[in-house]
């Protein structure tokens, strides 16, 4: 960057930054082991999916009443986590908050991985996945399903662009520095660096594109989770028939996404030895952000449960009693307490915003967020307006089968694999942006 003040005095030189960040991409033994592990898990679980394909959805626990089970709850969770890309790199980025620079790429990688797998989860929930094209061929404009498919693919596209575009200068560096990379990777770096050599006009041009996308992803990000909530809220079911579902889901997504990001930050910091870049400052600030989004989510939860709980309308009453004190009480309260209230209370103290404690807290928040999706989806289906009667016993309850659980594990392994591969071939911390921020001149050879 040319119009910055002259090089400041700093312990970090451009060479050191490059070396630190590119090193784990070149040799990292543990990573290959981890990839092998993920691939094994995926192959084992793929067999479960094969059984489901062969024998049909009868192998799941889903029946006439609970026709959305584990898979859809998992889908909502994946969409929620993916929203972190829009929160961190675009909303905070547009606000020019500078501590996000080293973690914005991790956020974007998570977004891409989770939204891509979210789309797959929907297809895995279909007994006849080949019919997914029918949504495009015959989809009705009135149907939230069509909106959802549209918005998921759109969000995936923009997230991919927001991952690649800001990475172009870094990829130009990779092209020059990583001499030992495989021919395929070299071709990839060459292709994706778009001949970037950091001329002022290229810089301006690139940053205009990035800013456009950052603005564009805000409505699309809001839309993806709002539309996901409308899949529920557009029906007349107890527990889903509420007007705040859109913002409620978005708030919940920020919580789940931030927790996912903190966990990922921790593992990259430790495993990639990036302590100088992903510092305590990032964790501390993420902790404060987490308190903020948790408070917003708590506020929505109050609205969502206190208002109907006060009135106890016919229909709602059965549903709410089952949640508060019935069959779902343990899941419901543990998601509210362990996944929201207690984290807020802990994270207001600085001690708990240190990397390790906040990572553990985030794991709880993630688990709570997942369970929360489960108790949003399934109990409502078990409490239809017309009484359930004269049906086989297994229609009245829902317990996920081993096949369903395996396919869900598959989706998690797949998302982790995508994150791992992306972080293996791309620098997880933006080299050039860090250098710019520190006032170090960025030099990229042609």
């Amino acid at each position: 960057m040319n119009d910055l003040p002259e090089q400041k005095e700093t312990t970090l030189s451009f060479e050191k930054i490059k070396k630190d960040i590119l090193r784990p991409m070149q040799n990292h033994k543990g990573l290959e082991l981890w990839i092998a592990f993920l691939v094994t898990v995926i192959s084992v679980c793929a067999w479960a999916y094969y059984v489901q394909l062969r024998d049909g959805l009868g192998v799941t626990g889903m029946r006439d009443y609970v026709s959305w089970g584990l898979y859809i709850a998992n889908f909502v969770f994946f969409v929620a986590v993916s929203l972190v890309g829009m929160l961190i790199s675009s909303i905070l980025g547009l606000l020019r908050i500078d501590w996000i620079t080293p973690i914005s790429r991790i956020a974007e990688i998570i977004a891409v991985a989770f939204v891509a797998v979210a789309g797959l989860v929907i297809i895995m929930d279909m007994g006849r996945p080949d019919r997914v094209v029918n949504v495009l061929i015959h989809g009705r404009f009135q149907s939230p399903i069509l909106w959802d498919i549209t918005v998921v693919t759109t969000y995936l596209t923009i997230s991919l662009l927001l991952l690649i575009l800001p990475m172009i200068p870094d990829l130009a560096i990779c092209k020059n520095e990583l001499k030992k990379a495989s021919p395929f990777l070299k071709r990839l770096y060459n292709l994706l660096s778009f001949g970037y050599i950091n001329t002022p006009s290229q810089y301006k041009h690139l940053h205009k594109m990035i800013r456009t996308l950052m603005v564009l992803i805000v409505p699309v990000g809001l839309a993806i989770h709002t539309v996901t909530s409308w899949l529920f809220a557009a029906t007349l079911r107890n527990g889903w028939d509420t007007t705040i579902f859109g913002p409620y889901f978005v708030a919940g997504a920020f919580v789940a996404g931030s927790a996912g990001l903190i966990v990922a930050m921790y593992f990259f910091r430790v495993s990639y030895k990036l302590k100088d870049y992903i510092t305590d400052v990032q964790f501390d600030n993420m902790g404060k952000l987490m308190v903020a989004v948790c408070l917003v989510y708590l506020y929505f939860n109050l609205n969502e449960f206190l208002v109907p709980g006060y009135k106890m309308k016919t229909g709602d009453d059965v549903h709410l009693t089952e949640l508060f004190a019935g069959h779902w009480a343990i899941m419901f309260w543990s998601s509210q307490l362990l996944g929201n209230v207690i984290p807020i209370m802990l994270l207001v103290t600085k001690k708990f915003r240190k990397p390790f404690p906040i990572m553990v807290i985030s794991l709880f928040i993630l688990a709570g967020a997942w369970i929360k999706r489960y108790v949003i989806v399934i109990p409502t289906l078990l409490h239809p307006h017309l009484p359930i009667q004269n049906v086989p016993q297994n229609f009245v309850h829902y317990y996920p089968t081993a096949i369903e659980i395996s396919v869900t594990v598959l989706s998690f392994a797949l998302a982790l694999l995508i994150i791992t591969v992306l972080s293996k071939i791309f620098p997880v911390v933006p080299i050039c942006e860090i250098a710019e921020q520190k006032g170090i001149e960025v030099k990229i050879e042609a």
Partner: protein, 306 residues
């Protein structure tokens, strides 16, 4: 010691076995339920509406009352609800069992209203030899006949339908059949509307006269599909006539799928929703393609060193 265990085990088995047997055989209502009384009187009207409810909800398993043609279900078959052995029970007992259900017998607690359940019980009670009040229906004895027919006479002005039921005696005479219940129905969108009224039993001339409702909508020409049948197939087998008659009020049918609506086909989606969707997609993807287009120009700018 070993023996003791064996004895205890066999005693236990015996106990368990006898328990299942008694459970399967004896299904009895608690004493408090037995005392409950039927609040409805045994009028012809109530009996006939009870019969209709019975035919719809119970007949598929219990068969025709007194005919003994129940469905042979396992392990416990449904009883003949017109038999004297069954009618020994009090109204309250029957009411309790219909509500609760047992084994293959479904619960009707929520599917039938209280009134409907009492009507069925009133109807069943009409077969009770010990209760005289309700005898009159079954009293008429018709000669043995074959070739049973229903003749329809429709008066368009009064919208009156007169159905005549007759059969051929062995000697070859056509005689009217008396005291047989007929069902007069009109085909609607989903199934049939019963317009027989409360007392659709043939008189001594073998006739039932039914008033067609004055306000029933029909197709453009006012045509309706009428169907008249002997309610109980058990007497003469299935005896049915159907007829298209212009008794209804002519109406122009509206297909709710023809208008633009939320529930419509894709082609009939509301305009605003098509515009919002297509507009949104074009705007967002327009910007995406614009960015992609600019991206392709990035390499060119490398030469432009100003």
């Amino acid at each position: 010691m070993k023996n003791a265990i064996k004895i205890i085990a066999s005693l236990f088995l015996l106990f368990a076995f006898s328990a299942t047997v008694t459970m399967a055989q004896k299904w009895s209502a608690p004493a408090s339920a037995k005392k409950k009384q039927n609040p409805y009187e045994a009028s012809t009207k109530n009996i006939s509406s009870g019969k209709k409810i019975y035919n719809i909800n119970c007949k598929s398993c219990h068969g025709d009352a007194t005919m003994g043609n129940m469905l042979p279900l396992q392990p416990v078959a449904p009883s003949d609800l017109g038999s004297q052995a069954f009618l020994m029970q009090t109204d309250g007992e029957i009411y309790y069992k219909v509500n609760k259900g047992n084994g293959a017998m479904p619960t009707f607690e929520k599917t039938l209203s209280d009134e409907d359940k009492w009507m069925v019980i009133t109807y069943l009670r009409s077969f009770d030899q010990n209760k005289k009040a309700s005898k009159k229906i079954a009293e008429v004895i018709n000669p043995e006949v074959s070739d049973v027919r229903i003749l329809l006479d429709i008066n368009k002005e009064d919208k009156r339908i007169i159905a005549n039921l007759s059969g051929l005696t062995k000697k070859g005479d056509r005689v009217a059949l008396q005291g047989i219940e007929l069902s007069v129905k009109v085909k609607r969108n989903f199934g049939y509307l019963d317009i027989s009224g409360d007392d659709a039993y043939t008189n001594e001339k073998g006739e039932v006269s039914v008033q067609f409702p004055k306000d029933l909508p029909a197709d453009r020409e006012g045509h309706v599909n009428l169907l008249v049948k002997v309610t109980d197939d058990a007497y003469y087998g299935e005896v049915i006539v159907d007829r298209i008659a212009s008794l209804g009020i002519p109406t122009n049918p509206v297909n709710p799928l023809d208008e633009r609506a939320m529930w419509g086909t894709r082609a009939n989606a509301p305009i605003w929703i098509i515009l919002s969707y297509v507009g949104g997609v074009i705007c967002i993807w327009g910007v995406i393609f614009l960015v992609l287009f600019q991206l392709i120009q990035l390499p060119k700018l490398a030469k432009n060193k100003e």
